[in-house]
C-alpha cells in the first residue's frame, strides 16, 4: 500500500507539471511579461535581472516570454503528433491482428520497413518534400511513431483475437466493424493511452531537435528548439542564459510527461514495456 502511494507521488508530480504547462500555454498572452516577437535592439543580450527575469536574446526579445509562448508550440506539436501516431498505429495494429493472415504479413513487413528507417532521415526527407510548417512538422514526427505503436497494439490485440468470445461473435454473424469496435478496441485502450503518453515526450524532443536543425518551427515564432539555434550557440559563452533556459524547459517538460506516463503504465498495465 505504501509502495503504491509512493509510485503515485512521482506520477502526481509529473501530472502537476503537465497541468501547469497546459495552464501556462493557455494563458500565455496574459502572463507573459513581453511580446515574444517584438524586436528591441535597445535591450539586446541583457543579463537576467528584475526587468527580464531570464534575460533577453540577440534581438532583445524577452527569454521568459518566448519560453512561455514556446510551450504552446511544444504542446501543440506534442499532442498533435502523439495522438495522430497512436490513433493511426492502433488502427493498423488492431487491423493487423484481427484480420491476420496475408493482411497481417504484409502490414508487418511494411512496419518493418518503416522501423528500420532512421528517424531523422525520414523527418529530413518529409520536411524537404512538404516544406516547413507546424502541420507538416507534426506529420514528419508522426510517421515514424506509427509502426512502433502498431507493434505494441498488435501484440495486445492478438491475445484478444484468440479469445473465444470473438470467435463466437463472428460465428453469430456480426460484421467486422462491430466486432472491432465492441470487442477489440475497448481492450487496447490501456496500451493506447500508454503509447500516447510515451509519445508525448518523444514528440516534444523531436520537435526541439528538428527546430534546432532549422527543419521545424520558423522564426520569429517562439519555440524551444528554435531558441537554441543560431545566436544561442554563437553567444553560448557570453550570454549562456540563451542556451540554458530553453534546454531546461525542454528537459523539464519531457521529464514530467515521462513521469506521468510511467505511473499511468504501472497503474494500467505493468507488464507492457515502453521506452
Amino acid at each position: 500500500m505504501r509502495d503504491f502511494t509512493r509510485r503515485r507521488t512521482l506520477g502526481a508530480v509529473g501530472a502537476a507539471v503537465v497541468v501547469l504547462m497546459l495552464l501556462i500555454a493557455v494563458s500565455a498572452a496574459l502572463i507573459a511579461p513581453y511580446d515574444p516577437v517584438t524586436v528591441d535592439f535597445g535591450a539586446m543580450l541583457a543579463r537576467p535581472d528584475a526587468k527580464h527575469w531570464l534575460g533577453t536574446d540577440a534581438f532583445g526579445r524577452d527569454v521568459l516570454s518566448r519560453l512561455i509562448f514556446g510551450s504552446q508550440t511544444a504542446l501543440l506539436v506534442g499532442f498533435g503528433a502523439a495522438v495522430m501516431g497512436a490513433v493511426l498505429g492502433t488502427i493498423l495494429g488492431v487491423g493487423s491482428a484481427y484480420f491476420g493472415g496475408k493482411v497481417d504479413l504484409y502490414l508487418q513487413r511494411l512496419m518493418d520497413v518503416f522501423l528500420s528507417f532512421p528517424l531523422i532521415i525520414l523527418a529530413l526527407a518529409l520536411v524537404a518534400i512538404l516544406g516547413n510548417s507546424i502541420p507538416n512538422l507534426i506529420v514528419a514526427i508522426t510517421v515514424p511513431m506509427i509502426p512502433r505503436c502498431a507493434l505494441v497494439i498488435r501484440s495486445s490485440a492478438l491475445a484478444i483475437r484468440e479469445m473465444p468470445y470473438v470467435d463466437a461473435a463472428r460465428a453469430a454473424g456480426f460484421g467486422h466493424t462491430r466486432i472491432i469496435l465492441r470487442h477489440m478496441l475497448p481492450n487496447v485502450v490501456a496500451p493506447f493511452l500508454i503509447m500516447i503518453t510515451a509519445f508525448l515526450g518523444q514528440a516534444i524532443l523531436a520537435e526541439a531537435s528538428l527546430s534546432f536543425l532549422g527543419l521545424g518551427v520558423q522564426e520569429p515564432t517562439a519555440a524551444w528548439g528554435l531558441m537554441l539555434r543560431g545566436a544561442a550557440v554563437d553567444f553560448a559563452e557570453t550570454a549562456p542564459w540563451m542556451a540554458i533556459f530553453p534546454g531546461l524547459a525542454i528537459s523539464l517538460a519531457v521529464f514530467a510527461f515521462n513521469l506521468f506516463g510511467d505511473s499511468l503504465r504501472d497503474a494500467l498495465d505493468p507488464k507492457l514495456r515502453t521506452l
Binding site: 539586446m44 522564426e219 520569429p220
Partner: protein
C-alpha cells in the same frame, strides 16, 4: 597591326606591372618574410569536384588555389580587391579601341610535372572556359560573351579579341576561378581536371582525405623565385562554425578564410588577446529583397517604395553588426571601392535618409494611396543562420512598424534557388555575391532579360543605363551612369530593396603574415605571399 600602337597599361596597375609585390606589401614593409612552417587553415566546405572552371564554391578555391596560377590576378595586398596585377602574364597591352588585349607570358614557368607552360596552355584553358565543347560544363561562359577569339601567336603571347569594348574585361580575366590547365591533358581528356590536380602554382598536391583534410607542399621549382615562403599547408574541412572557432581558439588552426560572425570574433579576441589579429572588410555580398512584379500589389511601385522606406538602415546596421555579418550601408557598389556611392548622395535615396519617422510616415501614406493599407504577405527566406535569419527577423520587425504584417517562411538551403527561379514567391530574400567588385559583374543580374531577375521587372531604362556604364571608358562618366542606374533601381522604381552590406571578419592567428583581407572570400588564396612568424 595598328592596334598595337598605344600602350595603355591596366587601369590602376601601371606601377605594379613589372615590379614584384614586395614593395607594396604593407606586412612585408615591416618584417622580412620567414621561411618554413605549415599553414593550417579551416575550410567550411569541401570541393565537390577539382575543376574550378565548373565549380563556384569557395570550398574549391581555398584548398586548391595554391596549386594553380591565373593569367592575371588581383593584387594580394590591395584591400579593395579591384587592382589587376600580373600572374602568369608579366605585362599586357590594351589596344586603343579597347578591342584587343595582348598578354606577354612569363618564361620558364613549369607545371608540377616539369613541362613548360606556354601560350597554348592559356589558350586551351580559356577555350574550355569560354567555348566549352558539348558535354563540358563551364559556369562562366556567359561572363565572356564579349570575347570573339583567344589566340596564341607565339609561345609567350596570348591575345583576346573582343566583339565590343568592355571596360571590365581585364578584372574579369583576374577571376580566381580561371586556373590555367595543361593543354596536352585537356586535349586528351576534358574531364581529367575534375578528379586530378596539375598546375603551375606555388604548392604541389599531396593528398585529399574525404571528409577530413587537403594537404599541399612547397613547389621547389616555383617560377616566382623566392616564393612561396611556407613549407606547405593543410586545409581542414569543418562544417560547424563553432568547431571552426574552437580550432582557431585552441591554436590548432591559424585561419579560416571565409569569415566569422561578430560574436565569434569577440570570443576569440577575448580568449586569445594579442595572439589574434582581426582583419575586417565590407564583403562583396548583400541580401536584398525581391518582389514579384507580376503579383499584386507588388506591381505598384508605391508599395515597393514603402517597403524600402520602412527600413531604418542606419539603426539596423548598428545593432545587426553586433550579432551577424552585416555592417555598412551602401548603394549598388561595395562601400570603399572605386565606384561606391558617396554617403552624401546615398542619403538622398528613398529609405537611406536619416529621419526615419518622416520616412515611415511617407511609407504609410504611399501604402494608403496604393490601397494597400494593412498589407500582409509571406516572406520567403533562406534557412541559413548568418546573416539570412537575423536580417529576416529585422526586416519583419521594420515592416511591422508601418503596419505591414509579414509571416516568414524559411526555405531549405537547397530548395531556395529553385523557388526563386520558379518565381514561387511574393516577396523573397535574394542575394548577390561577387568575386571581384566590378559594376558589370555585380549588376548584370538586374537587366530585364537576366536569368537572375527573379522579381521579373521589365525596365528599358535599366538595361540602357547598364550598357552605357559598361561601355564607358572614362571612370567619371561611368560613375554618372551608375548613379543614375542606382537611383532608378533603388529609389524611383524600387525594383529591389537593398538591405545592409555583408561584412567580412577574419580573426586569425597573429603569426599569419603576408595575407590581406579583400571584399571577397574567393580572392587571394594562392598563399604564395603568406608566411608564418615565429
Amino acid at each position: 597591326m595598328g592596334l598595337r600602337g598605344l600602350r595603355i597599361f591596366a587601369l590602376l596597375a601601371a606601377l605594379t606591372v613589372f615590379a614584384g609585390f614586395g614593395s607594396v606589401d604593407p606586412a612585408a614593409a615591416q618584417d622580412k618574410p620567414r621561411l618554413g612552417g605549415e599553414l593550417v587553415f579551416v575550410v567550411p566546405s569541401e570541393p565537390p569536384s577539382y575543376d574550378a572552371h565548373a565549380e563556384e564554391t569557395f570550398g574549391v578555391i581555398h584548398p586548391m588555389a595554391p596549386h594553380y596560377n591565373t593569367l592575371v590576378r588581383v593584387d594580394p595586398f590591395d584591400k579593395t580587391g579591384t587592382k589587376p596585377v600580373p600572374d602568369l602574364a608579366e605585362s599586357w597591352i590594351i589596344s586603343k579601341d579597347g578591342m584587343t588585349y595582348t598578354f606577354k607570358l612569363h618564361r620558364g614557368v613549369k607545371f608540377h610535372d616539369g613541362s613548360e607552360m606556354t601560350s597554348k596552355d592559356v589558350k586551351a584553358s580559356y577555350d574550355k572556359i569560354i567555348f566549352p565543347p558539348a558535354g563540358v560544363k563551364s559556369l562562366r561562359k556567359e561572363a565572356y560573351r564579349v570575347v570573339e577569339v583567344v589566340e596564341a601567336p607565339d609561345p609567350y603571347t596570348v591575345r583576346f579579341r573582343l566583339k565590343w569594348p568592355e571596360s571590365s574585361l581585364l578584372l574579369n580575366l583576374a577571376s580566381p576561378w580561371n586556373w590555367i590547365y595543361k593543354a596536352d591533358i585537356l586535349a586528351k581528356d576534358m574531364h581529367w581536371y575534375e578528379k586530378n590536380v596539375m598546375g603551375t602554382g606555388a604548392f604541389t598536391f599531396v593528398e585529399h582525405v574525404k571528409g577530413s583534410h587537403w594537404v599541399g607542399k612547397k613547389n621547389p621549382n616555383y617560377w616566382d623565385k623566392g616564393k612561396p615562403y611556407l613549407d606547405g599547408y593543410r586545409a581542414i574541412f569543418i562544417s560547424s562554425s563553432s568547431a571552426q572557432v574552437a580550432a582557431i581558439r585552441g591554436e590548432r588552426a591559424f585561419i579560416q578564410f571565409r569569415g566569422f560572425s561578430p560574436p565569434e570574433r569577440d570570443s576569440l579576441v577575448q580568449a586569445l588577446g594579442p595572439k589574434i589579429t582581426v582583419q575586417e572588410s565590407p564583403w562583396d555580398c548583400l541580401n536584398f529583397v525581391s518582389m514579384h512584379h507580376e503579383k499584386k500589389p507588388f506591381n505598384d511601385k508605391r508599395v515597393r517604395r514603402a517597403l524600402s522606406l520602412a527600413l531604418d538602415r542606419y539603426e539596423g546596421s548598428k545593432s545587426l553588426s553586433k550579432i551577424t555579418l552585416v555592417r555598412d550601408v551602401g548603394g549598388v557598389q561595395v562601400p570603399g571601392t572605386p565606384y561606391a556611392t558617396p554617403p552624401a548622395e546615398l542619403e538622398k535615396l528613398a529609405g537611406y535618409g536619416h529621419d526615419i519617422n518622416a520616412a515611415r510616415a511617407e511609407a504609410r501614406k504611399l501604402l494608403k494611396e496604393a490601397g494597400a493599407e494593412g498589407l500582409s504577405f509571406t516572406f520567403k527566406n533562406r534557412g541559413i543562420p548568418h546573416p539570412y535569419e537575423p536580417v529576416g527577423i529585422w526586416l519583419i520587425d521594420q515592416w511591422r512598424q508601418i503596419g505591414v504584417t509579414v509571416k516568414q517562411e524559411f526555405i531549405e538551403a537547397s530548395a531556395y534557388h529553385p523557388m526563386l527561379k520558379r518565381g514561387d514567391f511574393e516577396v523573397a530574400m535574394d542575394f548577390q555575391c561577387g568575386f571581384i567588385v566590378e559594376p558589370d559583374l555585380d549588376l548584370a543580374r538586374f537587366v530585364t532579360n537576366s536569368d537572375a531577375n527573379y522579381g521579373k521587372h521589365t525596365d528599358k531604362m535599366i538595361d540602357d543605363l547598364y550598357q552605357k556604364q559598361s561601355r564607358a571608358t572614362d571612370p567619371e562618366e561611368r560613375k554618372k551612369y551608375l548613379r543614375a542606374f542606382e537611383k532608378r533601381i533603388l529609389d524611383e522604381e524600387a525594383h529591389v530593396i537593398y538591405t545592409i552590406q555583408w561584412h567580412r571578419i577574419i580573426p586569425h592567428n597573429s603569426k599569419v603574415k603576408g595575407w590581406t583581407i579583400t571584399p571577397s572570400h574567393y580572392l587571394n588564396n594562392q598563399l604564395d605571399t603568406v608566411w608564418l612568424a615565429e
